[in-house]
C-alpha cells in the first residue's frame, strides 16, 4: 500500500527531474563534485541532492574478509525499478567507485572488482524510478591493502 503511494508521488518528481533514462549520462561530466568527495554521505548528497536513504530491497555481496585489497569482488543486485545505481566505500581517499545508469527495463545485476586501501564499509545506493534512494551497506576486512603501488 505504501509503495503505491510512493509511486504516484514519485512519477511527478521524476518527470520534473530527468527527461529520459534512454539517453546516455556520463556522471563524470554531469556530477564532477561526486568524484572528489571524501565521505560517503557527502558523495551521496552531491550525486542525488539528498541524504535520505531507505534500507531495503538492495543486495550487496562481498567477501567478509578480502585477502587481496587490489581486487575485491562485489555483486550488486536489486529488483527495484531504478534509474541509477551507485557504489561507494569509505577506505579510499575518495569515496565514489562507480555509478551505473540503468537503461529502461534494465536488470540490476552487476559484478565488478574494486580496490580498497584498508578495511571499511561499502555502500550501494539504488535510485528508484519513484525518486527514493534505497541503500545497502556491508562492512568487510581487508587483509592486504590494494591502493598503494
Amino acid at each position: 500500500m505504501q509503495r503505491r503511494k510512493f509511486l504516484s508521488f514519485g512519477a511527478v518528481a521524476v518527470a520534473a527531474m530527468m527527461p529520459s533514462s534512454l539517453s546516455a549520462t556520463d556522471y563524470r561530466k554531469t556530477k564532477p563534485d561526486t568524484w572528489t568527495s571524501h565521505t560517503v554521505d557527502d558523495s551521496i548528497k552531491k550525486l542525488y541532492g539528498t541524504g535520505k536513504l531507505i534500507e531495503e530491497g538492495v543486495t550487496l555481496k562481498t567477501p567478509d574478509v578480502a585477502a587481496n585489497g587490489g581486487a575485491i569482488p562485489v555483486d550488486i543486485s536489486s529488483n527495484i525499478a531504478a534509474k541509477s545505481v551507485a557504489l561507494f566505500q569509505d577506505a579510499n581517499p575518495e569515496s565514489t567507485v562507480a555509478v551505473w545508469t540503468v537503461p529502461e527495463n534494465g536488470i540490476i545485476d552487476y559484478s565488478l572488482k574494486i580496490k580498497m586501501k584498508a578495511s571499511g564499509t561499502m555502500t550501494v545506493v539504488v535510485e528508484g524510478l519513484d525518486g527514493k534512494l534505497y541503500v545497502a551497506n556491508k562492512t568487510l576486512q581487508v587483509a592486504l591493502g590494494g591502493c598503494e603501488g
Binding site: P103, I107, S111
Partner: protein, 96 residues
C-alpha cells in the same frame, strides 16, 4: 578487451575484461607517472544502450565487469570504454 555474451531465456549474461592499468592518483604520485583509469564504459545492442557505468580509479587493475540485460541471440553487442587521458577502445561480439 575480452568480451563474452550469452543469451538464455531472453536474458543475456555478459562478461568483459578490459586491459588497463587503472593507475590511481596515489600510485601515480609514487611512481612518477600520470594517473590514468577508465572513466566511462558503455555497451549497446542495435544502437540502444544496455549497460552504462561511470567509474573511478578504484576499480581493480584489468577490471572485469559482469552484467545482465534483456536481449536475444545472434545480435551484436558493442562495448566501448574511455579513460582519463581520452583513449577509447571498443569491441564488438555476437551474442551466443
Amino acid at each position: 578487451m575480452k568480451l563474452k555474451a550469452k543469451a538464455k531465456n531472453g536474458i543475456v549474461k555478459a562478461k568483459v575484461m578490459m586491459k588497463h592499468d587503472m593507475i590511481t592518483y596515489d600510485q601515480a604520485k609514487k611512481k612518477g607517472v600520470k594517473p590514468n583509469f577508465i572513466t566511462y564504459v558503455t555497451a549497446s545492442v542495435d544502437g540502444k544502450i544496455v549497460y552504462e557505468v561511470s567509474t573511478s580509479q578504484f576499480l581493480s587493475k584489468n577490471p572485469i565487469l559482469k552484467y545482465k540485460f534483456r536481449g536475444e541471440k545472434g545480435k551484436k553487442i558493442t562495448m566501448t570504454w574511455k579513460d582519463l587521458l581520452g583513449n577509447t577502445k571498443s569491441s564488438t561480439k555476437k551474442i551466443k
